[in-house]
């Protein structure tokens, strides 16, 4: 047996279906991050400042917010989450150079489906896309190539701003 870090934690029976504990752990990590990000953005001072920077960069800087600092911090946090995603999924997939190329397109699809700027949207969008792909592979494998984008196109044609995106107010 090769070394398989994913199996180290063993299996567990959920409703008499065997499940890998590690996968459940990933779900826990994801919900933890979802919860903490929602909390930070909605209920702390930093989150509110961040929202103001996103909405109007010039006005925020006029009000005394260090916009550049926010850009650097936000970018750093984004990269950090990307790293975390790669790290926790590495034991489940085969890691090759260029692995990010496939992921980035799926990530864009998820973000667009969920709606820009919404943490919940990203979570729900990821569920939608992931489930659609799995169902397609199971029932109609020939659709697997484009089902992700097909689902995205259908959702966007009914809700042009994504599932949880707010209608953008255009400036005059």
């Amino acid at each position: 047996m090769p070394y398989q870090p994913r199996m180290l934690l063993g299996n567990i029976n959920v409703f008499s279906i065997p499940y890998v504990v590690y996968d459940l752990g990933i779900i826990c990590i994801a919900s933890l991050i979802w919860f903490s990000f929602n909390f930070i953005i909605k209920y702390t001072k930093i989150g509110k400042l961040l929202l103001s920077v996103i909405n109007d960069r010039e006005m925020s800087s006029a009000l005394g917010i260090n916009v550049n600092k926010f850009f650097i911090y936000t970018f750093t946090f984004g990269c950090l989450l990307g790293c975390l995603g790669g790290a926790v999924s590495a034991p489940m997939i085969s890691v090759v150079p260029g692995i990010g190329v496939e992921v980035i397109v799926l990530a864009f699809a998820v973000v667009v489906t969920g709606g820009l700027g919404s943490v919940t949207g990203a979570a729900i969008g990821a569920l939608f896309i992931g489930l659609a792909r799995t169902i397609a592979i199971f029932y109609a494998p020939q659709l697997e190539l484009f089902i992700v984008f097909f689902v995205m196109a259908i959702i966007l044609s009914f809700k042009p701003e994504g599932l949880f995106g707010s209608k953008e107010v255009r400036k005059i």
Binding site: V101, F108, A109, V112, L145, F146, F149, A153, R170
Partner: protein, 314 residues
């Protein structure tokens, strides 16, 4: 001297004749790379039009693919060998498909526009790959062509006829785009990019303009695909409709910027030559070279390669 540089049409004529002249000077491999980058340059020219509107499409490979398949399938199924008919079919296909899809796409902006185009191109890719009658992953090949019913004996893909055909078509399209950007409707593009609502109040029909530009740019991409098939003689879905090809076009479009119509062609030439030489000298790390080139490009030429020729008038 400055007037000379401002006269874009004169530069275009010099451009045309110097590239026709290159046929007699440069070695075959360089001519091949030039011709291929002209085909790709047409797609980037289409992206330039969208960039003037402030839109980026991650799915222009779809029209590249459609144009190519229009040529290859007309050749194989209808046995038409006349080059001008084949090119006309490519243009017609690009026009009809983009006209229909435009009604759907024109409502979206920003990343939604980009991703929707990507989705459409991936759907086309899936359809082609999974249907045997469309050639599946093998695609189609074409053989001998006739140029105005003149057949060349012992035909190579790259001959003086196909070269001049591609160069002349490219320059013609550059002229069209140049004239379009100077016309009132071309000037509207920047107004729409800067402020949509205000332009709407000034009486511009935004959706109609976007639809028009979308058709124009997609038709250019389809023409590029059609010419590519005439040059290479073969088309597969992976090299055209898959999103990495579209990403490459966007890469070149960002590298070349949207200041003038020469930028996409020069950028495309630059990219193809960099890639060929990087592949030749650094076969294992050529992606790194291309990445470094893009970073340097963004750092030192933030408005793209086009800003070498004309500084934007403030």
């Amino acid at each position: 001297m400055r007037d000379l540089f401002n006269n874009e049409k004169l530069i275009l004529i010099i451009f045309l004749f110097s590239f026709i002249g290159f046929w007699f000077v440069l070695p075959d491999y360089a001519i091949n790379t030039i011709t291929l980058s002209f085909c790709n340059g047409l797609v980037v020219l289409g992206l330039l039009l969208l960039m003037r509107l402030g839109l980026v499409s991650f799915g222009h490979g779809m029209y590249y693919c459609l144009g190519g398949y229009a040529v290859a399938m007309t050749y194989n199924f209808l046995q038409i060998k006349e080059v001008f008919f084949l090119v006309a079919f490519a243009i017609l296909t690009g026009f009809i498909v983009s006209f229909l899809l435009g009604f759907f796409v024109r409502r979206f902006r920003g990343i939604f526009f980009a991703m929707l185009n990507l989705a459409l191109s991936m759907i086309l890719f899936g359809i082609i790959v999974k249907s045997v009658s469309l050639g599946s992953t093998d695609g189609f090949g074409i053989k001998d062509l006739t140029y105005l019913s003149y057949t060349i004996e012992d035909q190579k893909r790259l001959n003086i006829f196909s070269y001049i055909l591609i160069v002349v078509f490219t320059v013609l399209m550059m002229l069209f785009v140049m004239n379009f950007l100077r016309s009132p409707s071309g000037k509207m593009l920047e107004a729409i990019r800067e402020n949509e609502i205000r332009s709407a109040y000034l009486g511009i029909s935004i959706n109609k303009q976007i639809h028009k530009v979308y058709i124009f740019s997609s038709t250019l991409a389809a023409l590029g695909g059609g010419l590519m098939v005439i040059l290479i003689g073969h088309i597969t879905p992976e090299d055209t409709a898959y999103w990495t090809k579209s990403g490459e076009f966007v890469f070149v479009a960002i590298l070349s910027g949207s200041l003038n119509v020469f930028a996409p062609l020069i950028g495309s030439l630059f990219f193809e030559f960099i890639r060929s030489y990087a592949l030749f000298y650094f076969p294992n790390t050529w992606q790194m070279i291309i990445g470094i080139v893009l970073i340097l490009g963004i750092l030192y030429l933030p408005e793209g390669i086009g800003s070498i020729f004309n500084k934007r008038k403030k």
